[in-house]
């Protein structure tokens, strides 16, 4: 019923293209069901925008996709912020959240 199957790579492509992202990582958290994704998006378009605005940008870029999947999580950084974090923590792939009912995952180490 979805026009295109939503996969990690299809989301990655969409984000790269629509947000001119310089780096994108998407992980399927739903055990392969393609229903629940977490992501890290690095794009200069986020500069000067607060958290809400960045997420809204992502939401509109992925409007159709998000409407179809069950859970979506994103970490939006500018290239500078990404570099900084990589330097300090070695980076991570989106907030490692558990979109399902079981499992309590500790939040990102910031």
């Amino acid at each position: 019923m979805a026009e295109t199957a939503i996969t990690e790579s299809s989301l990655k492509d969409a984000l790269t293209e629509r947000l001119k992202a310089t780096y994108v990582e998407v992980a399927d958290m739903s055990g392969g069901c393609g229903q629940s994704f977490t992501s890290l998006i690095v794009s200069a378009e986020f500069a000067g925008k607060n958290s809400l605005k960045r997420h809204r940008l992502v939401n509109s870029a992925l409007k159709d996709e998000i409407a179809q999947i069950h859970a979506w999580s994103a970490k939006c950084q500018t290239p500078d912020e990404y570099e900084k974090e990589m330097a300090t923590t070695g980076g991570n792939d989106g907030p490692p959240l558990d979109g399902t009912d079981e499992g309590k995952v500790d939040g990102v180490d910031q």
């Binding site: 809400l52 997420h55 809204r56 939401n59 409007k63 998000i66 979506w72 939040g107």
Partner: protein, 267 residues
């Protein structure tokens, strides 16, 4: 809090009606045991009935009638489908609501009932406006609006949402309730609020599909949980975490952290 009385016979009906004062609003709910939406409507009504205190003299009277068994009564009120709600005062039918739209039912009752202790025009949900969240509203969206009504309904819904997001300084729209979250993200957000001893109101969007879909449009935000502060959307779990990471005092204005860190957030 008023209880809903089940009418089991024509005599019982006649007796009940004759006992009413001319000023009492009689709320008659017609149901059929085989119709699933009726069970949900029963829930909606009992939640509503709870908001109306039993007063002397009675300002509201809530009764339930099995539409098939007591078909004479159904015919009197032109009950063509169930669930069906009829509001009567002094023998006059004020309004009837057909179908299972919790919003329509609530609006109809509120517009005709005498004001209660804490009458809130559009925020009938007990979920919000209290320190601790309260009973979530059990509702069911099954609008029977005619095409022309759609715009008006949308306006009313948005009006209702505009009030709902301000029901408490911090409002959490979540899946499930703080004591029983139905989704990992909602659960985490509840935990964060608890850790920061935040006082908040909550609304279980799983219990009201109209709010669930309407709020997505109203907020221009596609997912839940949603945290609103002072009537403005903060965002979902990700954003709340990010805000806290950059400012650990993000919630301090709404926190009840006093000596001992007693948490007034939902249990």
């Amino acid at each position: 809090m008023s209880a809903i009385k089940e009418i089991t016979s024509l005599e019982g009906w006649a007796q009940h009606v004759s006992s009413l004062l001319p000023s009492t609003l009689l709320i008659v709910s017609f149901h059929a045991p085989w119709a699933a939406p009726c069970a949900q409507m029963a829930n909606v009504l009992s939640t509503l009935a709870n908001e109306y205190p039993v007063t002397e003299p009675f300002s509201t009277s809530w009764v339930s009638v099995n539409a098939e068994e007591l078909s004479e009564i159904s015919e009197t009120y032109n009950v063509t489908a169930v669930p069906f709600l009829v509001l009567v005062r002094n023998g006059q039918v004020l309004e009837s609501v057909s179908g299972s739209s919790a919003v329509k039912v609530r609006n109809a009752i509120e517009s005709h009932a005498k004001p209660t202790a804490h009458s809130n025009p559009t925020v009938g949900e007990k979920a919000a406006a209290v320190t601790n969240g309260g009973a979530p509203v059990v509702g069911n969206e099954n609008s029977e609006a005619l095409p022309g009504d759609a715009e008006k309904q949308r306006e009313e819904l948005f009006k209702r949402l505009a009030d709902l997001v301000k029901a408490a300084p911090v409002m959490l729209f979540m899946k499930g309730t703080p004591s029983e979250p139905k989704c990992g993200f909602s659960r985490q957000l509840v935990a964060i609020l608890r850790e920061n001893a935040v006082k908040y109101g909550f609304f279980n969007i799983l219990a009201d599909d109209e709010v669930r879909q309407g709020l997505k449009e109203f907020a221009d935000w596609p997912t839940f949980p949603q945290l609103w502060v002072d009537g403005e959307l903060v965002g979902g779990l990700d954003i709340v975490k990010e805000e806290l990471a950059s400012d650990s005092g993000f919630f301090s204005r709404y926190s009840t952290k006093v000596n001992g860190g007693a948490s007034a957030a939902a249990s």
